[in-house]
Amino acid sequence: MLQIAGRKFSSRLIVGTGKFSSNSVMKEAINASGSEIVTVALRRVDLDNTQEDIIEAIDFSRIQILPNTSGAQNASEAIKIANIGRNMGLGNWVKLEVTPDPWYLLPDPIDTLKATEKLAKDGFAVLVYMNADPVLAKRLEDAGAEAVMPLASPIGSARGMKTKEMIRIIIENSNLPVVVDAGLGSPSDAGYAMEMGADAVLVNTAIATSDNPVKMAKAFKLAVEAGRTGYEAGIIASKEHAYASSPEKGII
């Protein structure tokens, strides 16, 4: 079972909420995905306008909400937003996103580490969106992160596992759960990430902007299960694949 910050989850698929056509479609898609962790941009949350609010569409009894700091361009903004979320009563989990470049929404390693240190110290369970940078993954681990979330390719690009070489190393070296985030365009992309030994994946655009988000959510659910099951069974080696070999992870 997936374990993050002391909580256990049977689903290894985390879904995003930012790009759906409506709350009802989103709700149905989340159900179909089987996901137990759902991320929500704090900058979209408006408790003053409940009829339109994403939060209202999420079943808190079943789902761990993972507020994210998307939009933050530096550590201090991210820390501020995270605290606003906690003060709203959204709990102490936070998906840290620090993206100074509004163009590709790629994360800033320096301010990401800085914010992780501070938020972890302040009692947050910090799940960290990051570039596929193995050294940064280790430093985030040292800084008290609860999970690292390396990107597969830029957000929304749907280009799949373009950083697999680095993600392989992150998975090999990490003592934390590794959640592959951003850029997974198709169920097979997610399946591939799971076969490589990722602990979970996060999918947003590919589900939300599909012609049939509910069906696509189901497809990702199946692909993630297939990928994980294959990983556990032991995938036959292939030159083309950057799989780590027999999971050393299980040993140490």
């Binding site: 409506s22 900058r43 306008n49 501020k80 937003i81 509004p102 163009w103 939300a208 902007t209």
Partner: protein
């Protein structure tokens, strides 16, 4: 090559040569280009050409895919809030022209709060503060205080006022301003001088350097645009895009966007010298979306309801709704607006239309923690 500012880059270009380049695009040049996956400003003369205008369905398909990819189904709502129509400029195309005999008004903080409350209750969380070139903006903290006042309720505050000093932009940021709309109106210097007859706005340079000052001061989002109808729009849009690309390359943390004001009837007599048809505006929006996949493309209520709905579905990402273009207009409709509104629907009606199109209307896309 590094240019020390946009003006020195602009000086490398001759308007006529760019126009000629756009006019002489061959169909097979366009064919080759459309096979590419990523586009850059260098491709814009081709995408904006009359040759390309025969291929709008193709452009539309690509643009629509890109928009969905980066923005999903979300579309963002904002409302303009006019705080003063006093103006010391004489711009031939504008209802606030100093020579126009209209009732002038500058809102008090109490009056601003009244309009603001109205907009908040409608659901708006993003306000665009608009004003004529009222000297009070440069001479006192009127603007800064207004930003601070509104920021108490509204997470996102943008401004569309005369170009400010870097220092004033800095103060605006500190007060909670995250966005700037500053349109050059036209990048054709000759036309610029002709239409800006008097007032500080005649200073082409002070205006064109505004975005650089704003970016330096830490304004996070800058909206570019030209007033469509003043000069050859294809050429003008190319330069606006070049301007935006320059800012993006120099100030990598600055988000850019575009607005597309077409000259609308107003109190006065100016008639557009260049006609910009709906299909032209559509082409502009499609071309900019291809070159700037992640840019905000912003619609105002200058455009008709049906056309706006269509543009939102394809490529536009932000829209105002239920706008009033006169100071205090939300609480009191006695003064005259800057221009006529074409889309008179209420915000609720606009939101319904957005939903009906399978899109998600987003009122709040900014957090108080992201500013100030």
């Amino acid at each position: 090559m590094r240019y020390k500012n946009f003006l020195s880059l602009l000086e490398q270009y001759r308007w006529e040569k760019v126009s000629a380049k756009i006019a002489n695009v061959k169909p097979d040049t366009l064919d080759k280009l459309l096979k590419k996956e990523n586009f850059s400003v260098g491709d814009l003369p081709i995408l904006l050409s009359q040759t390309a205008s025969a291929r709008l369905p193709e452009l539309e398909k690509k643009a629509s895919r890109i928009t969905t990819q980066y923005f999903g189904k979300a579309r963002f709502l904002y409302a303009p809030l006019y705080i003063t129509n006093r103006c010391i400029n004489r711009c031939v195309y504008c209802g606030f022209n100093k020579n126009n005999k209209i009732e002038r008004k500058r809102l008090s903080s109490k009056e601003i709060s009244k309009d603001a409350d109205y907009l908040y209750n409608q659901g708006f969380r993003h306000i665009l503060i608009v004003s004529g070139e009222d000297p009070i903006v440069m001479k006192s903290d009127y603007l800064i205080d207004t930003i601070a006042l509104l920021h108490k309720k509204f997470p996102s505050i943008s401004i569309e006022v005369q170009p400010l000093t870097e220092n004033l932009y800095r103060k605006a940021v500190a007060a909670g301003c995250d966005g700037l709309s500053l349109y050059q109106e036209t990048y054709n210097k000759k036309v610029y001088k002709i239409v800006h007859i008097g007032g500080p706005k005649r200073d082409f340079r002070w205006r064109i350097e505004g975005p650089e000052r704003a970016a330096k001061a830490g304004i996070k989002k800058i909206n570019f645009g030209v007033l469509l109808g003043l000069a050859d729009f294809r050429t003008d849009i190319f330069f606006a895009a070049l301007h935006a690309a320059f800012i993006r390359k120099r100030f990598w943390k600055t988000q850019i966007g575009f607005s597309f004001p077409r000259i609308r009837p107003f109190v006065g007599s100016y008639q557009p010298t260049v006609e910009v048809k709906d299909r032209d505006l559509l082409q502009i929006i499609l071309a900019l979306r291809l070159v700037f996949p992640q840019a905000f493309l912003v619609l105002s209520t200058r455009e008709r309801a049906g056309f706006r709905d269509k543009l939102l579905q394809i490529a536009a990402t932000n829209t105002s709704a239920g706008s009033k273009t006169n100071p205090g207009g939300y609480s009191d409709d006695s003064t005259t607006g800057q221009f006529d509104i074409s889309d008179n629907r209420t915000p609720a009606e606009v939101v319904r239309a957005i939903r009906a199109a399978g899109l998600y209307p987003v009122w709040k896309d900014w957090d108080i923690g992201l500013a100030g």
